[in-house]
Point group: C2
DNA sequence: CCGCCACCGAATGTTAACAATCTTGTTTAC
DNA sequence: GTAAACAAGATTGTTAACATTCGGTGGCGG
């Protein structure tokens, strides 16, 4: 399989490579112990995924995402994840319900104990499980890609003071609607959540005009 | 530039290669008069775009899209194009308005003269201009990709009898809302349009159970 | 001291040959 | 007659060498 693509993607998402970093083929091929061709394949794939930027005869770099682009990404996520929430509200089983409620419970305790990193992870898990339960392959795939692209900005959000409390209630509302099987409520709860994220991004962008 | 990727994409979208067709590297490299490496690059890129399927040591084929997948693609398009319609309603200039109204006029005459192919082209132009006017790069790119993926099923839709008339009124409603600057109306008109497309796909799918 | 030009190094892009893998058709043993 | 084993052909995957392009650097001239 094309394991190099996954390795490189993980290394970009985990911050091992930062936006703007050059991705030279020879050093990468040594780092991953493979040929240049495998690295090229990975760079091409990640370019069409939007994580890498390639310029003719000038090599590849980790794509830099502006605030306005991050906002657009979140807007697109908003409508797609609302669709997903509605589908999950329709299709989720009883076991799915208990699993989702359990995740919320863990998030609640993470907020209480001020475990920011743990909360961020659980946040990711909740969104991932919601899209897996939806059965909507297309939307799920698009959202996963969009989350990857905005990963750096997501990180910034997680460490904002007092944000976890708001975020927790929003997520709880989504899960409640899903458990109740209320598609419209699930969708609008998800929209409200991501509108709030967009709001924060806007404020952060305005505060950092250059 | 990576012109081979674009050429191959066009050849797939135009039906020169059909779903299930094998995409062998050597014949393709001869056909496009280039090396195998260029073809490989194109195949990798189009695989992550969802147009091509590649299996380890077994080569690439044109991806086959099921009816249920086409429906999911259209559902995702529905929410994204509604977002686009709203943004366009907000940002479009006076010249944009006259251009959109002009396209509708051409579509009307195409329906009157029963020019199915012309109508289908204008349909594509209208949707493309709407997303270009929106200024929403992210949503525009995602929608373009989704339209590519479902291209074959779109084609089937175009030739359904009596469909152009319905379709025309739906498009006119979208443009009217955009010209009026009414974001909510533009979004819901777009949703209504694509719900109707989904409806047709569902009926076609039910009629072709196997 | 400043600017232009030619050269050089680094990195990507391309090509061709080789290796590994899968499919298919044939042979052989039971 | 059937099924398993084998062999041949075709196709992808990998590697290494070569070509091309771009940016910078140093020297030359004004």
């Amino acid at each position: 399989m094309d394991t190099i693509t996954n390795d490189l993607r993980d290394d970009i998402l985990s911050g091992r490579f930062e936006p703007g970093d050059r991705l030279l083929e020879v050093p990468l091929s040594e780092h991953y112990d493979c040929g240049r061709a495998a690295v090229r394949s990975a760079l091409i794939a990640l370019t069409t995924e939007g994580l890498v930027e390639r310029e003719e005869n000038r090599g590849a770099t980790v794509r830099r995402i502006s605030i306005t682009e991050a906002i657009q990404i979140t807007e697109a996520r908003s409508v797609l994840e609302s669709l997903i929430a509605a589908q999950t509200a329709r299709h989720a089983s009883a076991e799915d319900h208990t699993e989702l409620l359990d995740i919320i419970e863990q998030m609640r305790s993470a907020v209480a104990n001020d475990e920011g990193k743990k909360y961020s992870e659980l946040n990711g898990v909740l969104h991932r499980r919601l899209r897996e339960m939806s059965g909507h392959e297309i939307a799920a795939q698009l959202v996963a890609n969009l989350r990857h692209r905005a990963a750096h900005h997501q990180f910034r959000l997680a460490v904002m003071p007092g944000r976890s409390a708001d975020s927790l209630e929003q997520h709880a509302a989504i899960v409640d609607a899903v458990v109740a099987g209320n598609e419209e409520a699930a969708a609008s709860a998800m929209t409200a959540h991501l509108e709030s994220v967009i709001e924060v991004l806007h404020r952060w962008g305005d505060a950092n005009v250059r």
